[in-house]
């Protein structure tokens, strides 16, 4: 049977139609700040039109191949449509279409790598659009798509599995539409909660810079573990209390939403029972301790509190693939920078809004490595890999190893592209900085070291590098496999 691209395209159309709503909301924000809403209104109209046009294609059953195609196309289409407001605004770096696409792709994939070098050159509306794009990319798109799909009564569950690489998300409720609503309301609820708490800090005069615009903007990109900030100093622009609060919510955003849902139902044992959560929490604690110790030895800050705060914030920010910063950690010692660089490859829990490799996969690898050592001594022993008492089947173990290997290969290739391309164009990018930029975009973290540091931008990277990064941000967010599957000739043949 041939892959039925028309079904996928038609479903992408449905998502694009939905995209008109956040665009209209952004137009409203522009109006509130007395800015011209036209770029957003035009984009909304275009999105609606494109949506209706694509939806005209006939829909059939959604089989795995169509689901793969739909996932890949959705992210691509939303990134393209999302770049239109940047282009239409055309201020600052966004005179270049590639920069507009870069920013939009970075937004929707919750990467948080920005090309903006001068924040004052852009309107509030446009800055808000970046934040909203990330929030949609976090889980919004997923919930939107599943909600739509379930209303169309096609295989939403299949999409969820493709999307999250985990099955327990789909077991929340017997009906897909209800699951989508549960996840959606949890996501919205947490975002609202953080926005209100941040605004309270402003009202109590604890964090004077946290005005309503900042409170909402940061709530949107914290839960999405995305990392855009309308402030040039990122979270460094706010008081310590706000930094602690955001640290907590980045941690929450990188926690499996099924566990978060269980917590809202009062089932606190879900935390203790989840081996992945214990691993994730332990990892955060361990790496924070290490980073803080190095910072203390380096004498980077005076006093224990700021040392711990900044160490903790940066570790959580990078490890959860958020990418906020409270200080320019690009200026820290190589030891801490390498610790942070390694954090890029971790990522939060499966079933959360994070990207990168994710703790689930690392846990599987650690356990299968331990098994390997054991069977080296006892060749006849049969040891299933267990995660929290459940058996991880051998296929998953194999897939996980392959996935990590593939990620590393792609990361290395991207590094090579960046190094060669930047040398050719006369831009001196060091090996380590190139590696960090490659990892940071492909694994959807955001800031890197060197020019693309937390207080810098990707604007100066040459065209080939930037194009490769745009493609690999997209590949990284949808977890590589769907794209690679699309690239195999077998996919398109019967």
């Amino acid at each position: 049977m041939r892959v039925d691209w028309r079904t996928s395209v038609s479903l992408v159309g449905a998502v694009l139609k939905g995209l008109a709503v956040p665009l209209a909301v952004t137009a409203l924000v522009a109006v509130v700040y007395a800015e011209p809403p036209t770029p957003f209104l035009i984009s909304a109209a275009g999105s609606l039109l494109a949506g209706f046009a694509l939806e005209r294609f006939p829909q059939q059953e959604l089989y795995p191949r169509e689901a793969f195609l739909m996932v890949a196309l959705t992210w691509l289409a939303v990134a393209l449509v999302g770049s239109i407001p940047f282009l239409l605004a055309g201020t600052g770096v966004f005179t270049s279409p590639l920069n507009a696409l870069f920013e939009s792709m970075s937004g929707i994939t919750t990467t948080g790598a920005t090309v903006i070098d001068d924040f004052s050159a852009h309107s509030r509306g446009l800055l808000f659009w970046r934040q909203l794009l990330q929030w949609l990319g976090g889980l919004g798109i997923l919930v939107l798509a599943v909600g739509l799909l379930s209303q169309l009564s096609v295989g939403g569950a299949r999409l969820m599995e493709t999307e999250t690489q985990t099955e327990d998300l789909t077991k929340l409720a017997p009906r897909m539409s209800r699951t989508a609503r549960l996840l959606g309301s949890l996501y919205v609820g947490l975002t609202l909660l953080l926005a209100v708490l941040l605004y309270l800090l402003f009202l109590l005069d604890i964090a004077p810079n946290m005005d309503p615009f900042n409170a909402v903007s940061h709530a949107l990109t914290t839960l999405a573990t995305a990392g855009f900030s309308p402030e040039p100093d990122s979270v460094g622009a706010f008081a310590p209390a706000a930094q602690y609060l955001i640290t907590l919510f980045m941690f929450v955003g990188a926690t499996n939403f099924v566990i978060l849902y269980a917590l809202t139902q009062g089932r606190t044992q879900a935390l203790r029972e989840s081996e992945e959560f214990r691993f994730y929490a332990l990892l955060v604690a361990g790496v924070t301790a290490l980073a803080t110790a190095i910072l203390a030895i380096d004498g980077e800050f005076t006093g224990a509190e700021p040392t711990i705060r900044h160490g903790l914030f940066q570790v959580v920010s990078i490890l959860t693939t958020t990418g906020y910063a409270t200080v320019d950690f690009n200026l820290w010692s190589p030891a801490v920078k390498h610790v942070l660089f390694l954090c890029m490859f971790v990522g939060g829990m499966a079933g959360s809004t994070t990207c990168s490799i994710k703790t689930f996969r690392w846990l599987v690898v650690v356990k299968s490595f331990r098994r390997e050592l054991f069977t080296e001594l006892h060749p006849e022993a049969i040891r299933p890999v267990r995660l929290g008492g459940d058996i991880v089947d051998e296929e998953t173990v194999h897939d996980t190893t392959m996935y990590i290997l593939l990620s590393i290969v792609i990361f290395v290739l991207l590094t090579v592209i960046v190094v060669v391309d930047s040398t050719r164009s006369g831009l001196a990018v060091g090996e380590f900085d190139a590696m960090s930029a490659a990892a940071s975009t492909f694994l959807n973290i955001g800031p890197a070291f060197g020019a693309a540091g937390p207080y810098g931008s990707y604007a100066d990277f040459p065209t080939v590098s930037k194009t490769a990064m745009v493609v690999l941000m997209w590949v990284g967010r949808i977890e590589i496999i769907p794209v690679l599957v699309l690239l195999t000739p077998r996919f398109w043949r019967s």
Binding site: H378, E380, I382, R383
Partner: protein, 443 residues
């Protein structure tokens, strides 16, 4: 009492033979040859037919029958037979099953499957094995009074410090009663001056702690097992590993079939499952099986079990336990060097027999076939025993009776001559076969 036994295999025949002396027994089997051979061999009536067929049961006289025992080799047949028999509401039904899955279901409600009582062969065997290996040198272990009292049978090794001591010298344990010494064919009721000899089987009754202490006194060099190897992932092997896991052991299990081994590895998180031939010398050497404390062989057939145990003994394994399918082989196994032979069929037959006998006693353990019994009674409010001292009761009983333990409100007291019995007490008594009826009459 009229009893129908469905299934004339080893278990059914053994039950029928045990019951035939005191009860009217009818044996039903689908195999005419089996029916014929048992009705020639024992004083029972044979009926050829399908026990799950209501007409066959009627032909066997189910309407006048008090008890039906379904003991064919097939779980489902036994369950359906009980279900069919339960149409006749007066009959008490007992089902024998191999798979614990049915037992778990049966335990959930009253009279599930139409069965009043259910005996699970494989679980029973696994429980026997885990009980035995918990105590070094024990041959048999049974619990009474909800686990407060334990009966254990020990063989005294020649090198044991206890060998040659008198009971008085050996009795250093708080709540332990020496119930009997089995020497060759004789049952000796021990007095203070009775001397314990090597190769005696000593039966003690007491708290689990004191039996463990006694076990350690018999063989001080043998501590509790750490390294346990189970050979064969049959249902018994699986259940044994599971019970051991639940008691905090981490056994090793060897299974030949790759699929079964994989399944076992998935089901048993605390067990190291290895896929190999258990008679492969190289494998046994590499895995250091000779250093294991206990090797339990639960392979599919008796010859393999014997071979595995003898091989392990040769390699130096301290203790070997074998599952024996053919009841008659059990003694031969122990004679050629296997430390303990556990027969699931014998255990099942014993469990069913003791259940049929002991419906007035709370619990019964059979010693060495039927040579003696350990019985548990609850002292009845209306009974004659209330207010009597042990000495008075003993006066009414023949020789060969020993009061082993009394529990009152779940607490163990060691019976003395002047102990007065109260209503609700649980009394655990050792009685030689000839004295059983007298004990049952008095208590």
């Amino acid at each position: 009492m009229r009893v129908i036994v469905v299934g004339a295999g080893e278990v059914g025949s053994s039950i029928a033979a045990d019951l035939s002396s005191d009860h009217e027994v009818t044996v039903v089997d689908i195999d005419g040859g089996q029916v014929e051979s048992i009705s020639y061999g024992e004083d029972v009536l044979g009926v050829k037919g399908d026990g799950s067929d209501v007409e066959t049961l009627e032909e066997a006289g189910i309407e006048e029958t008090d008890m039906l025992i379904a003991s064919t080799n097939d779980d489902r047949t036994n369950i359906v037979t009980c279900g069919t028999a339960s149409v006749f509401s007066d009959v008490f039904t007992i089902a024998r099953v191999k798979s614990p899955q049915y037992l778990r279901t049966w335990e959930r409600g009253s009279r599930v499957f139409g069965a009043d009582f259910m005996v699970c062969t494989d679980l029973l065997a696994a429980e026997t094995i885990t009980g035995v290996i918990g105590l070094a040198t024990a041959q048999d272990v049974d619990t009474f009074a909800d686990g407060v009292v334990q009966m254990a049978e020990f063989e005294i090794p020649a090198e044991s410090p206890v060998a040659g001591q008198t009971i008085e010298e050996a009795d250093r344990f708080d709540s332990l009663t020496f119930a009997a010494i089995l020497r060759d064919d004789a049952i000796i009721i021990p007095r203070g001056e009775t001397r314990i000899e090597a190769d005696d089987d000593v039966i003690v009754i007491g708290s689990p702690d004191s039996t463990r202490a006694f076990s350690a006194a018999i063989a001080p060099e043998r501590t509790g097992p750490d390294d346990i190897v189970i050979v064969g992932g049959s249902e018994v092997g699986y259940q044994t590993a599971k019970l051991l896991e639940s008691r905090g052991f981490s056994p090793r299990l060897v299974e030949h079939d790759p699929d079964r081994a994989r399944w076992l590895a998935e089901q048993l998180p605390g067990t190291t499952v290895m896929q190999s031939d258990a008679t492969d010398r190289e494998f046994l050497d590499r895995e250091n099986v000779g250093n294991a404390d206990v090797l339990i062989s639960t392979l599919e057939n008796d010859q393999q079990n014997l071979l595995a145990c003898l091989l392990a003994e040769r390699l130096g394994t301290d203790r070997t336990v074998a599952v024996v399918d053919t009841v008659q082989f059990a003694d031969i196994f122990e004679a050629v060097g296997v430390d303990v032979a556990v027969s699931p069929r014998k255990a099942t037959a014993g469990e069913i027999t003791r259940f049929t006998r002991g419906r007035h006693a709370e619990n019964i353990a059979l010693i060495e076939g039927n040579r003696a019994e350990v019985l548990e009674f609850e002292v009845d409010e209306a009974g004659d025993a209330v207010g009597c001292t042990i000495r008075e009761l003993a006066g009414k009983l023949p020789d060969g009776v020993v009061f082993g333990a009394i529990t009152r409100n779940g607490e163990l007291t060691t019976p003395r001559g002047d102990t007065v019995l109260e209503a609700g007490d649980h009394v655990v008594v050792f009685a030689s076969a000839s004295a059983v009826d007298a004990v049952t009459g008095v208590l």
